[in-house]
Amino acid sequence: MRLLIAIAILITSIMPARAADDAAFTAVLSKLPEASYAEKSDLIKQLVEIHRAGTKELLNAFLEGRLYVRDSDKKIFIVESSDDAFKLTDAVTNQTAGTVSQDGFSKIGVNNQLRRVLRAALAQFDLASPDRDARLAAVKEMQRSMDADTTAALRDRLAKELDSAIKKEIANAVALADLSSDDAKVRLQAVTTLHGSLNPDVYNRLQGLLEKSPEGEYVEPDEAVRTAAAAAITRIDRWRQIYSAIETLLFGLSLGSVLVLAGIGLAITFGVMGVINMAHGELMMLGAYTTYVMQLLMPHYIGASIIVAIPAAFLVSGLMGVLIERGIVRFLYGRPLETLLATFGVSLILQQLVRDVFSPNNRPVETPQWMAGSLQFNEALSITYIRLYIIIFTLAVFAVLLLTLKHTRLGLEVRAVSQNRNMAKAMGIRTEWVDALTFGLGSGIAGVAGVALSQLTNVGPNLGQSYIVDSFMVVVFGGVGNLWGTQIGGASLGIINKLLEPYSGAVLAKIFVLIFLILFIQRRPRGLFPQKGRAAEG
């Protein structure tokens, strides 16, 4: 209520000035369409100074590229486009002006530098917003483009702000500006304020203080400030190193999870059943396409479609797996070479199938909103949500699979059949059914992996091929027939890859990992965790 009164007072107080403002506003606005990008940036500043109702909406529309000029009378409109038509709003009066066809309008161009100027300008509007998050975002936005105006605005706000997190943010921004103060005391105070900040701007500015000019004099004349800055830099450097190590580890884990996801289905079909399934990659591809189809079926619920896609992909790929097992693989048990060739044929058939059904082009799979962006621990460490979810997802899939094999009847039968087929038969287990279900389970897991991969890579007919080598690599490295081996093998290969990457580049890192694997297999042909006992020999 008090706010409303304040606004009312504000409006009445500026009433007389309004007509003059309108004229100035229109004058500035009319220059926009013809202006160069550099001139536009000045015009925006002028618009902000005039500061009248509707300026914020105008700047927002400009930022989003929704500001158009009518070619016939050079009138400027904020538009909203809907199927080949424009819903017009007059930029000066803020009145709606009907819906017309898009012909005869030209967009007022905006580029990256302008977008930055616009964002900073809009942030000043938000600085006094009652919404805490909006204020925080505004402060962060203004930090990116600091000049005399924004510093003054932030100083103003610092006195009024009550929220401690925002206060700290503003204090840092102001301290950064204070580093160029003439007063050595102010500078020293600023360095102290910035002591714990991991912001790269802070680091660069502090570093700048310690540099020497070409004449051999320090940029920073005051000894005490220099010492403080040097201490701050040492501290920041140490933290940065620690965080960078954690980051590499996280990257490795996330790559490892992708490898595990790709390999874990194979750990069942190849590891437990001993079938070299070259169509494994294509089963993942089917899972990815299932995600795409789910998104087509529920276009308004992209977030939920991913969740629905998980069981759907399991069913699609699982059924395809059972079909492959019943149709082809079961006639070829004990003949690995023929199995390899036959399943390779299946993989080609599946690829061509999706080419014919979905077109040879990659299909766009949208990333749901809740998976976009990244989790920011601090200025130096963050992990993208997508990677985080995939690490969690992999662990979940692994746990479910482990429980299935250890604690269900199917799991018991699978283990029995894989250890001694004849004995299992003698105990009354229908080994044929178990074979089909096991193969279906492994294939279904591959489909589930495909859902995850659809968020990371291109969904196209070649998706499977790019992961088949990786998945065999993980299973062989981890030890055939051992789920734990797959999990640990995948994770360690991922971490090794990411440790190597900064030194050797992405291309060589991959090659080094393969060489390492070849050498490792020479020493330990049965992988990290070989299966023990008589069953392993058979």
């Binding site: 580029n111 990256n112 996330s254 993208t384 990371l456 196209g460 992405a506």
Partner: protein
Amino acid sequence: MNVIQKCAGPLAVLAGLAMTTVASAADTIKVGILHSLSGTMAISETTLKDTVLMLIDEQNKKGGVLGKKLEAVVVDPASNWPLFAEKAAQLLEKDKVAVVFGCWTSVSRKSVLPVFEKDNGLLFYPVQYEGEESSKNVIYTGAAPNQQAIPAVDYLMKDVGVKRWVLAGTDYVYPRTTNKILEAYLKAKGVKSEDIMINYTPFGHSDWQSIVADIKKFGSAGKKTAVVSTINGDANVPFYKELANQKISAEDIPVVAFSVGEEELSGLDTKPLVGHLAAWNYFMSVKSPANDEWIKKWHAFTKNPKRTFNDPMEAHVIGFNLWVKAVQKAGTTDTEKVIAALPGLETPNLTGGTAKLLPNHHITKPVYIGEVRADGQFDVVWKTDKEVPGDAWSDFLPGSKDIEADWVTLKCGNYNTKTKTCSGTKYE
């Protein structure tokens, strides 16, 4: 003997038949189209085939060339580089085509080059490429590095104020050569080596997290940073996704791409890409009467009002018009005479200005920098004042700066101005 006599009758009939087909074939001029219609490159090349078919259709409506109708001969080299050479030989030797429009990747062009030189054919190559080549038998209607890469870097340096550079590319010949030229160019402009980061990734790379994190770190050193991307094909999708997820916006670190156009964006969610840049010689969104009319015709021909049109397709339009003019000027489709007639010919660009064929078999082109819009089209934010003449041999590489290509006076594709020799057909 008997056998021959027995067969003589039918043979004569067959020969007669053959004669008539030859006679009817002589009434048309054959135009070869050598673009992959299957395999990995089909995504980009199929649409080029459609462009040439439409051009032939249009020309036939105007009465053809030299009073004869044009006839398209379409072959499919299936994204298989050796097959390109085979199919080229088939077009030139068996079908006896007057001209070939074709190829996309540099490796496919290198594969057909010896065939065209041996059979003295004529190839119009429509794609931006790394330069360092000029053949008597090839007309390069795509951009040379000085018509795409160098102006883009100039724009970033002068208009955006970029001080630190990431050159990221896929690991093959075009990105490596282009980056070599750019590195030399940047260093000549006073950029220090520690301000240049070069990174190569395999085809179809999908795990971009650490590379993007490196770019982010590299870009946080207090100087304006930009990424010059020669990343090719579908590796771009996860790359841009990762950029968006790690919250690197085009306002902080813009990415300027040389291989991402309207066609590539059409299968992609472009919202996170808004503001990133691409450098081309043509954008579908450029407003000009010729372009508007052309796109209308294109949509009518393909019966698809959503179909995109892009830079290499415009290059084919220019190349086709140049060829028609050359044939009309020479009065024959004889390769030797057409090649002699080509240099100096001019034809309008779709976006305004004219394309002129230079003695080095490259053309003049305007250069545009566009920013990606939310609808997958580009907004032009910068363009050159006038057309830039294509330079076959880069002035920024030590080996090639003394080499000149001139098929009018010097009659040589790689004339060394220092040693005053022409090294013949050797291009490297």
